[in-house]
């Protein structure tokens, strides 16, 4: 099926190997980290005895690990599609992988050997003030792990920046700003290049912010005389954290633009609203982070107002450009509902629906009673578990090609159904917990809250069963050489 697997996406063997490394690692990490999540949920529901020290280690590893892993998977998606238009360096792509793995080892060692449990947000001064639960060395190890991972991604973006500039002149032209106010849009300008330009601009800045705050924190860890301002550090951390996790979505969504049209048979080109959506997102993702500091009343009032208003407006491109565009692309298209298409539309639903509780929580008066309750993991698991992960899974199912023209295996469809139902139930239990004012990040839950925890545990187990199926299928497909690189015989 050349329409599904065009020739310019066939990878030379070494590139294929690198991509397989990224994807198999992503799958394996997701599965393990989901099990960590299940253990936490069962502990909260009193179905499992997990001492609080271990709970908070699991929480730290799960948060840092998941954020890193979806970024790893997202960068594989971006690399795979962007390399059709610009020439990306394979050594840099591999360097990013190696630094990621080294960083991951440090994070795991810091957490499970050094007992570091300061949370993935390493909010100053908790990493250096644990009351003796972990050492400053363990905290420094954790932050060094972050630095390695950040350096890897920064190299990846710098290489992409170099490659994009070589072809398009500058990042602005790649983003399409020359067509915002008029002019005839080049309809062949790839959405992938637009999205990649945004990602490069935003996440380079995000990672630089992260590097600054990590170095500041490391300095302070060993030279406490260098006192930091907790409020300033919190600003930097949430700037970095918000950008980094959001960019994972913007990298993975490239799979929607590239793949959905192939299954519907309808092109999805750039348009002025599309370009406006991405240009606006470029700015908004960078300045929206004060919505994490609405309960820090010492922040200037304009920052809180900005946080609320930009949170509202950042929803617009998602609703009116990407999700709306996907629905238009599918509507009466005679789409063939193979697994990649099903996963892609699920991802659009998860993203669009998941930002509803997110946007509502960015309202200051709502935040007053929802901030740091389970409402927060409720909304972000919604668009990560049911949004970003399906994008990554769709990409991989597409790559292994098995679902393209052969009837889906019954198992794939059952796993999909389990994933959707389990995932929805799981995130709704978090949101229900938020409605009931259950605090987030509590190792021990009061008896009135445990019902949600127990339902969520069952739901999480269902998700994990589905994920196990996906992982086995996808790993076998990826390792056996997908249709994308070797057209199956007889066609």
């Amino acid at each position: 099926m050349s329409a599904l697997h065009p020739g310019n996406e066939i990878l030379p063997p070494r590139e294929r190997g690198a991509l397989t490394l990224y994807l198999v690692t992503t799958l394996a990490l997701l599965l393990v980290l989901m099990v960590f999540g299940l253990l936490m949920r069962m502990a909260q529901g009193t179905w499992l005895h997990v001492p609080p020290t271990l709970f908070y280690q699991l929480m730290t590893a799960h948060g840092a690990g998941m954020v890193g892993t979806v970024a790893l998977g997202g960068s594989a998606v971006m690399w795979y599609f962007l390399r059709k238009y610009v020439s990306l360096s394979l050594p840099i792509f591999l360097t990013n992988y190696i630094l990621f793995m080294l960083g991951a080892v440090l994070l795991l060692a810091a957490t499970f050997l050094g007992h570091y449990a300061g949370g993935w947000t390493f909010l100053y001064p908790l990493p250096v003030k644990s009351m003796g639960i972990w050492s400053v060395g363990a905290a420094a190890l954790f932050m060094t792990g972050y630095l390695l991972i950040g350096v890897g991604f920064l190299l990846f973006y710098l290489d992409a920046m170099r490659a994009v500039i070589r072809v398009y002149g500058n990042l602005g032209r790649a983003l399409g700003v020359q067509w915002l106010f008029g002019g005839i849009i080049d309809k062949t300008h790839p959405p992938t290049v637009v999205a990649s330009a945004m990602v490069i601009i935003v996440n380079s800045l995000g990672i630089l912010g992260g590097a600054v705050v990590l170095v500041m924190s490391l300095l302070n860890a060993y030279a406490p005389e260098i006192v930091l301002s907790a409020l300033f550090v919190k600003n930097l951390i949430y700037f970095f954290g918000h950008v980094f996790i959001n960019i994972s979505i913007y990298m993975a969504v490239i799979a929607v633009y590239e793949l959905l049209p192939r299954y519907t048979g309808r092109p999805w080109g750039v348009s002025r609203p599309f370009l406006w959506g991405w240009a606006a997102s470029t700015v908004m993702v960078l300045i929206v982070y004060p919505h994490h500091l609405l309960m820090d009343f010492a922040m200037p009032r304009w920052a809180a107002v900005l946080g609320q208003i930009i949170s509202y407006t950042s929803g617009l491109p998602v609703f009116t450009v990407t999700a709306y565009g996907a629905l238009t692309n599918i509507y009466r298209s005679g789409v063939r509902w193979r697994l990649p298409a099903m996963l892609l539309i699920l991802s659009m639903f998860g993203w669009a629906a998941g930002i509803i509780p997110a946007i509502i929580d960015a309202t200051i008066s709502v935040n007053r009673v929802m901030h740091n309750t389970l409402w927060v993991p409720g909304h972000f698991h919604f668009y990560l578990l049911l949004g970003v992960l399906p994008m990554l899974l769709a990409f991989m199912y597409h790559l292994i090609g098995g679902e393209a023209d052969r009837p889906d295996r019954g198992g794939d469809r059952s796993a999909f159904a389990l994933y959707v139902l389990g995932g929805l139930a799981f995130v709704l239990m978090f949101l229900a917990g938020g409605h009931a004012s259950v605090p987030r990040r509590w190792a021990v839950h009061e008896s009135g809250w445990q019902f949600y925890d127990q339902v969520a545990s069952v739901a999480a187990a269902v998700v994990i069963v589905a994920m196990l199926w996906f992982t086995v299928r996808l790993c076998r497909g990826l390792l056996h050489g997908p249709a994308a690189s070797a057209p199956s015989p007889g066609r």
Partner: protein
């Protein structure tokens, strides 16, 4: 219906609405129509969707920011009751003295070590309001208790091993008028 109930309901309605739109489009996906015809109609409809969302956003923004939901931080007018709150790993240090219902109380919240979250819960477990407790910073949270009775403070910012143990119960007594 509590404030939380209305937030929950709004969210469920929104999610269901999005789900219905997706299900409708999926139900229509088997038929085939000219892409250009679909696009023309979709683009026309999008203007309305976009305009509608903007209008909704403007109304909600206006309504939700006035009066501004965060009390002034620097004010010359002292609140009738002032209670100083200091978070410690892992307990709360709160000024003693009665807190009266019906009269605004200003909690001046800070921390002696790491970040904590000062969350006020009523006897039924509803979160009434919160503020961060940050070292080196004082956040001023003004709240008026409507009912006398037992309340609790729960920590709402992860602060290490015994974060979930940072619970303190306190009493709110009837205000002067109510007593007479």
């Amino acid at each position: 219906m509590s404030f939380q109930d209305s937030i929950w309901l709004t969210t469920l309605v929104g999610i269901t609405g999005v789900a219905l739109v997706f299900l409708y489009v999926i139900s229509q996906s088997g038929r085939q129509e000219e892409p250009s015809a679909v696009q023309a109609r979709a683009y026309a409809l999008r203007r309305w969707v976009f305009g509608g969302l903007i209008a909704l956003g403007v109304v909600v923004t206006g309504a939700s920011l006035r009066p501004f939901p965060i009390a002034p931080q620097h004010t010359l007018q002292p609140a009738p009751q002032v209670i100083r709150v200091v978070g410690h790993q892992w307990d709360w240090q709160v000024d003693s003295g009665p807190i009266q219902a019906g009269i605004p109380v200003a909690f001046e919240v800070t921390s002696a070590d790491v970040n904590h979250g000062f969350g006020i819960y009523d006897a039924d477990g509803h979160l009434l309001g919160q503020s961060q407790a940050m070292p080196g910073v004082t956040n001023r949270l003004v709240h008026t208790f409507t009912q006398p009775g037992k309340y609790r403070i729960l920590c709402l910012e992860y602060c290490g091993l015994a974060h979930h143990g940072m619970i303190l119960e306190f009493d709110v007594v009837a205000g002067a008028e109510e007593q007479s």
